[in-house]
């Protein structure tokens, strides 16, 4: 009983939210990109570049500029992916993989150049402080979960309805989705397929960059070589689990966030399961969750992953 109380305390829900934030941002990025018909497994690399650039920015100009730079770095990687897969028509998975490989290399090369004597891990830099929301924070239970979080956590939560609105309630969103479902028809109706895909994949990169920046200058205060630890991929899986919708993705990310917070809480509470095995729990859960989608997999945008050749 004691253990139970420890595990399901309010703080576990607060940390669920923190852990889910980068996943939510990656999953939203996945939604944008795949709704326009471009598979984006480069999210992981875009996050890592965002995380690195944010630390550099924070080191030089302070955390908020760092955040902005991190977001932009993600966006640039997104444009690279768009250039490769939309303009050149390269295999989208190969392009994403190349981005992931390069995003591991470049920070590792630059860390010792920017900070001599440091390898793979940057020194600590200023972080974006948590934000206390006056009235919300005073409400008993909810206040302790939502009342005092990092600004980026709130941004992620606000972005979910925003992206939903963008995709399903605006002209731009309709065009993006039409390009992901039937590019030929959209083209015939005068929609610029390439431009729509560039916009969508670019936004996808910006979101991933924000997620990465959250990791390095909010959640932690430094960059380390493999700090994204597969979060881009988990975000992508969450998006599939959430059936390519922002709200579904949010729920899936909260589930994974909870799994992770739970294993951390269980370890701290002294549950006698080896820590390394507990760390595998979120990945196992992801697989099980995806298998649970049995027979409902035809939900992906019809033209997802297919290059469109202007005729």
């Amino acid at each position: 009983m004691d253990l139970f109380i420890k595990l399901f305390s309010v703080s576990i829900f607060a940390s669920t939210l923190r852990i889910a934030t980068p996943l939510i941002l990656a999953a939203l990025g996945g939604c944008m990109s795949e709704r326009s018909g471009v598979i984006n497994i480069g999210l992981e690399g875009m996050m890592l570049m965002g995380a690195f650039t944010a630390v550099v920015g924070s080191f030089l100009f302070g955390p908020w500029v760092g955040l902005l730079m991190g977001v932009c770095a993600g966006g640039l990687m997104g444009l690279l992916h768009a250039f490769m897969s939309v303009t050149l028509g390269a295999n989208q998975i190969i392009s994403g993989t190349a981005i992931n490989i390069i995003a591991v290399g470049i920070p590792n090369i630059l860390v010792p150049v920017i900070w001599p004597g440091h390898f793979g891990i940057s020194p600590t830099v200023p972080v974006i402080p948590e934000l206390r929301i006056p009235f919300l924070a005073d409400i008993p239970v909810i206040g302790r979960i939502f009342g005092k979080q990092n600004p980026v956590v709130y941004m992620a939560l606000i972005l979910v309805p925003l992206i939903h609105f963008l995709l399903f309630r605006t002209r731009l969103g309709l065009r993006i989705r039409s390009v992901g479902e039937h590019p030929r028809a959209a083209d015939t109706l005068g929609v610029n397929v390439y431009r729509m895909r560039y916009i969508a994949v670019g936004i996808s990169g910006l979101l991933a960059g924000l997620g990465g920046s959250f990791l390095s200058i909010c959640y932690q205060s430094q960059f380390s070589a493999s700090m994204t630890a597969g979060r881009g991929f988990i975000g992508l899986a969450a998006m599939i689990f959430g059936r390519w919708s922002p709200v579904g993705a949010l729920l899936a990310c909260l589930l994974f966030g909870f799994a992770d917070a739970f294993q951390a809480g269980a370890q701290a509470a002294g549950v006698p399961i080896p820590p390394d095995l507990m760390l595998a729990f979120p990945y196992v859960l992801t697989l099980i969750a995806l298998v649970g989608l049995l027979g409902r997999t035809a939900m992906s945008p019809a033209a997802n992953g297919k290059h469109y050749q202007k005729g």
């Binding site: 050149l88 190969i94 490989i101 080896p274 992801t286």
Partner: protein, 363 residues
């Protein structure tokens, strides 16, 4: 055997252009790295010189570059089998890991026996373990429609955590005497003999080369190999011909995983002699670049695996002499993947433009 038949085991018709493309990819990646070196304040030529020297400077260095070539051949063959079936197995690193776990376990747990037998058992165990790790995402894809990329990435992470657990403090495979987080050393009889004394180069490289030829014959000369390729070329046409897409997806991924498992097994039995976490320094991820550069052909892969072996061992001297981070090699890898990924469509674009000029607009 007719001339044309022999042709396809070794090269395909497209490979003539492919060779040029591969050559340009390497050149292009070196130019990109050269620019990065200049921007970060190094002189590119001496750095490249040390890279070269690190790979060929002495017999020991030549041997070392072949040491990393061996697992690269196995893992890129694994990538290639799945790719030929239209699948993207970026889970080779995890499959290498479980292959290494199995090989190490049978290497120290079994009693001493004739070396040939012991090594064979260990490699088979590695292949089976890797094959199982590839079978899971194949089954999940065929049965539940789980995208193989997501499946293998989750399995990668699960494999890494399992390996870390096995050799951790009270882990079941942890050596009781040594303080290091590693398994006991494998028996003498399970070790693959080294070719050149003083280097870690072992006979596994010949096994890798033979495997490449066997795989080439399998893919291009057998019914089963044809089915795998047919599914990869056109799923619907294959289905219409009565080829089971699901069965071949599972087969291709299991085979792919088995080759990854062999890479891990050979690495443990020939180089490390014991299991520790992350014993593979990313061979499974390099496999993607190796296979693409090798024009996803088993024989082409032999050459490109050697190139990456050179880069890997050369980069160590490069880091030691010039302080250039050895991750520079991962930029080379990434650029090669980018280039190989985009040069095919560029070719199509150019061809289209030429067509349009000579025949007017197509539509």
């Amino acid at each position: 055997m007719k001339k044309g038949q022999l042709y396809s085991i070794f090269v395909e018709r497209e490979s003539v252009f492919g060779l040029l493309k591969a050559f340009m990819a390497v050149l292009f990646s070196l130019v990109v790295v050269g620019v990065i070196l200049l921007l970060t304040g190094y002189k590119p030529l001496p750095v490249f010189g040390s890279l070269f020297d690190g790979a060929f400077g002495s017999l020991r260095r030549v041997g070392e570059s072949l040491v990393s070539t061996t697992p690269l051949i196995f893992s890129s063959l694994g990538f290639l089998v799945a790719y030929r079936c239209g699948l993207f197995n970026i889970g080779l690193e995890g499959q290498i890991t479980v292959g290494g776990i199995a090989a190490a376990f049978f290497g120290y747990a079994l009693p001493t026996m004739p070396p040939i037998l012991h090594v064979t058992i260990c490699i088979l165990a590695g292949a089976l373990a890797g094959g199982f790790w590839g079978f899971i995402p194949g089954y999940l894809k065929a049965k539940f429609g789980v995208h193989e990329v997501i499946g293998v990435i989750m399995l990668n992470n699960i494999a890494f955590k399992i390996a870390a657990y096995l050799v951790s403090m009270n882990g079941p495979m942890k050596d009781r005497v040594d303080a290091m987080p590693a398994s006991p050393f494998i028996k003498e009889s399970a070790r693959i003999v080294r070719i050149i004394p003083g280097t870690r180069l072992h006979w596994g490289i010949f096994l890798a080369i033979v495997t490449a030829f066997v795989l080439s014959i399998y893919l291009f000369k057998t019914r089963s190999g044809f089915k795998i390729r047919a599914v990869g070329k056109n799923r619907y046409a294959a289905e219409a011909l009565g080829i089971s897409v699901r069965k071949n997806i599972i087969l291709a991924l299991a085979l792919s995983g088995a080759l990854g498992g062999m890479a891990g097994a050979v690495e443990i039995l020939g180089v490390h002699y014991r299991l520790f976490a992350a014993f593979s320094p990313g061979y499974g991820f390099d496999a993607i670049a190796v296979a693409l550069l090798g024009m996803v052909h088993p024989i082409g892969v032999l050459a490109s695996a050697y190139l990456f072996g050179i880069l890997r061992s050369g980069s160590i001297l490069m880091q030691a002499t010039f302080g250039v981070n050895k991750d520079m090699v991962s930029v080379i890898t990434g650029v090669i993947v980018l280039f190989m990924g985009m040069s095919a469509p560029i070719g199509v674009l150019v061809k289209n433009r030429i067509n349009r000029k000579s025949h007017g607009s197509i539509h």
